[in-house]
């Protein structure tokens, strides 16, 4: 599906990530050191780059800064054992498009890579359509088929986020960060209840389910036709 470059010095982690992403149909190359990674990255034509922060030879963020200074805008996801908020901000400032703290679920990584690869164009469109779903962002109105959906503002935002990523797995953490704008990890199954409520509203007329739970990872919204 896409050509990915993984720059990661830990061979075991790399092996699992490679196997997982290849299993999802991606073509993935692996570089184990900073200089190797920088060389591979410069050869170009990658759909996305996944890089660890602590690399032998060249620090991950330096590598990324060099790449950005050379004008390369390839989406990059930074992996790091340094999970705190400040480190995350540093990672994003250095040109990273997303930041994932170790240890992470492989499903979370895959979903985030997917999101980077298919980053929706946040077009100024004010009406979103997906199958029988229609969402008027200006008016704050959602409809399924001919039925009005009685959506709260946050549900509207959640549905819009999902509709812009049809068929794509979005994780709880992604929703919590992007829809609610919080940076911590909620302890309870908060996101599940919110999604559950939205799901019930979407199916209130007895229509088939549009939002599917992806076990252990998150949710996918699909078109119904």
């Amino acid at each position: 599906m896409a050509r990915l470059l993984l720059i990661e010095d830990d061979a075991d982690t790399a092996a699992d990530v490679l196997a997982d992403l290849r299993g999802r149909g991606h073509e993935v190359d692996w570089a184990a050191t900073g200089p190797d990674g920088a060389q591979a990255a410069r050869k170009g034509a990658w759909g996305a780059i996944i890089l660890d922060r602590m690399l032998p030879g060249l620090e991950g963020l330096e590598l990324l800064q060099d790449l950005r200074q050379a004008g390369d805008r390839t989406p990059a996801l930074v992996l790091s054992a340094l999970g705190d908020v400040d480190e995350r901000i540093r990672g994003l400032r250095s040109g990273g498009d997303d930041y994932l703290a170790k240890p992470f679920a492989l499903g979370e990584l895959a979903a985030r890579i997917e999101a980077l690869l298919r980053r929706p164009v946040e077009a100024p469109e004010t009406v979103l359509r997906l199958g029988s779903l229609e969402l008027d962002l200006m008016a704050g109105l959602g409809r399924r088929g001919g039925r009005d959906l009685d959506l709260l503002p946050r549900e509207l935002k959640l549905l819009a986020y999902l509709m812009r990523r049809p068929g794509q797995v979005v994780t709880r953490a992604m929703l919590f960060e992007e829809v609610w704008g919080y940076r911590f990890t909620p302890k309870s199954n908060l996101i599940d209840v919110h999604v559950g409520r939205l799901r019930r509203k979407l199916e209130a007329g007895g229509e088939p389910s549009l939002i599917v739970n992806v076990r252990g990872i998150g949710f996918t919204l699909s078109a119904d036709d």
Binding site: G83, D84, V85, D86, P103, R154, W180, Y182, R183, F184, T185, P186, K187, S188, N189, L190, V193, H194, G196, R197, G216
Partner: protein, 451 residues
């Protein structure tokens, strides 16, 4: 002995002794100066009056000089009337003493005098005036009396100084010894503390002096250190316990599935359980690290103006579906909270932890109220529930890391949520408190400093 000589207390004793001596010297000096001055003035006045009386009546001058010399029980009076040729006409002086100005004022001069049938040179006080016929009258007085006063003062000083010096040395040594004994007790206590007996406290006297205050402060510091050590130990124990539990379960489950699972689905179930336990363990490690991060003051970089009211409404909106699912009424009361300076993300996290906690302990049909209010200028965030509440004896412990009320041991959670709340509050200079809620449950409150 050298130790005593080196001790500050001994140096103080010597210092005090020297000071007493200087003080005594100064007092004696003053007394001498005053007494001698008075005597000298009196003598000078007598001489002045006498010489004027002599000069006032030139005809009777010789007689008056002889009378002055004669009326002298102690052989202290001197006098002389010398003709213009320098010859003595009356008195007992050989000649006009050198350096004596004939102006009627008394001077201290040297003169040859006859004393106990011996001619000796003596220091006397004398005044002289010239008479109209060219002769010179001299009236003098021995200076011995003044010298005796001086000598007496010096002897008194000598006699007094030695005891003063001795007494102040003894007193100083006594004080130094006492201070040294107190220090020795303190030192011994410190030694025991350094050997690891953290329960040892320094002896505190009842006088309330600097020593006592210092010892009291050190004791309070030791209390704090002991408390921290206790915290670290209990955190260590709790981490070990709470990490071991899921890891033990994980290990057992993996072992058992390896032997017993026959189908892929059975393996999946085992692995899912394993993953859940690992996530639980990781969440705990993350929380411990987050608390550590919070305790590092650098986190203040993200501070900005913050509306507590918005925080409350946003958080209630976030938790409302969860509350509804559990049959709990969740209400937001944003009531005139002043803007505070804080980190939006961290405050949201702290409030989320409090709400999460309240929802966990509130039974179905109960209510959780989330408030943003003002009290005496301070911004207050509070969460009230209708749960079982917290016994007063446990209240000050709930915000410690890993603390879990006995009753809560069986509910899920790692006991770090409130520890994180406390750490976030501390970072903001805010205080946390647990009280009774009006509805009977417990009220957890974060009070941000005003302004």
């Amino acid at each position: 002995m050298t130790e005593i000589l080196r001790s500050t207390a001994f140096r103080w004793a010597v210092g005090i002794a020297l000071w007493s001596v200087l003080f005594a010297l100064a007092i004696f000096g003053f007394v001498y100066w005053q007494t001698a001055g008075l005597l000298r003035e009196e003598l000078a006045e007598t001489l002045r009056l006498e010489i004027r009386a002599v000069a006032a009546d030139p005809a009777a001058a010789a007689e008056r000089v002889d009378t002055w010399v004669a009326v002298d029980p102690h052989a202290e009076h001197y006098g002389g009337l010398f003709g213009p040729d320098g010859r003595r006409r009356a008195g007992n002086l050989d000649a006009v003493p050198a350096g004596l100005h004939p102006d009627g004022d008394p001077y201290r001069v040297g003169a040859m005098v006859e004393l106990a049938q011996q001619r000796i040179h003596d220091e006397i006080w004398a005044a002289s005036l010239a008479l109209p016929d060219g002769s010179v009258a001299v009236i003098g007085h021995d200076s011995d009396e003044l010298d005796r006063v001086q000598g007496m003062t010096m002897r008194a000083l000598g006699v007094g100084l030695a005891p003063t010096l001795a007494l102040s040395m003894v007193g100083g040594l006594f004080l130094a010894g006492r201070a040294r004994r107190r220090l020795a007790a303190t030192e011994a206590a410190m030694d025991r503390v350094m050997r690891g007996e953290l329960r040892t406290r320094l002896p505190v006297g009842t006088r309330g002096d600097e020593f006592d205050r210092l010892a009291g402060n050190v004791n309070r510091m030791l209390d704090r250190i002991e408390g921290l050590m206790g915290d670290i130990r209990s955190v260590g124990d709790a981490v070990a316990h709470d990490l071991r539990t899921p890891l033990t379960r994980l290990r057992a489950r993996l072992e058992r599935s390896r032997e017993q699972a026959a189908t892929v689905d059975e393996f999946r179930v085992a692995i899912d359980h394993g993953l859940a336990w690992i996530d639980q363990t990781l969440a705990m490690v993350t929380a411990v690290l987050r608390i550590g991060e919070m305790e590092d003051e650098r986190r203040r970089a993200g501070f900005g103006p913050l509306a507590l009211g918005d925080l409350v409404t946003d958080s209630v909106e976030l938790f409302e579906p969860l509350a509804e699912e559990r049959g709990i009424r969740l209400t937001a009361i944003a009531d005139g909270a002043p803007p505070i300076l804080g980190d939006q993300d961290l405050c949201a996290e702290a409030l989320a932890n409090l709400i999460d906690n309240a929802l966990k302990f509130t039974p179905e049909g109960g209510e959780v109220r989330v408030l943003a209010t003002r009290r005496a200028g301070a911004g207050i965030l509070a969460v009230e529930d209708t749960g079982p509440g917290i016994p007063p004896g446990e209240r000050d412990r709930v915000f410690r890391r890993f603390y879990r009320a006995e009753a809560a041991r069986l509910t899920p959670g790692h006991g770090l949520g409130l520890g994180l709340v406390a750490a976030i509050a501390k970072l903001h200079g805010a205080t946390v408190a647990v009280t009774d809620a009006p509805g009977g449950g417990c009220r957890m409150e974060i009070a941000f400093p005003g302004g």
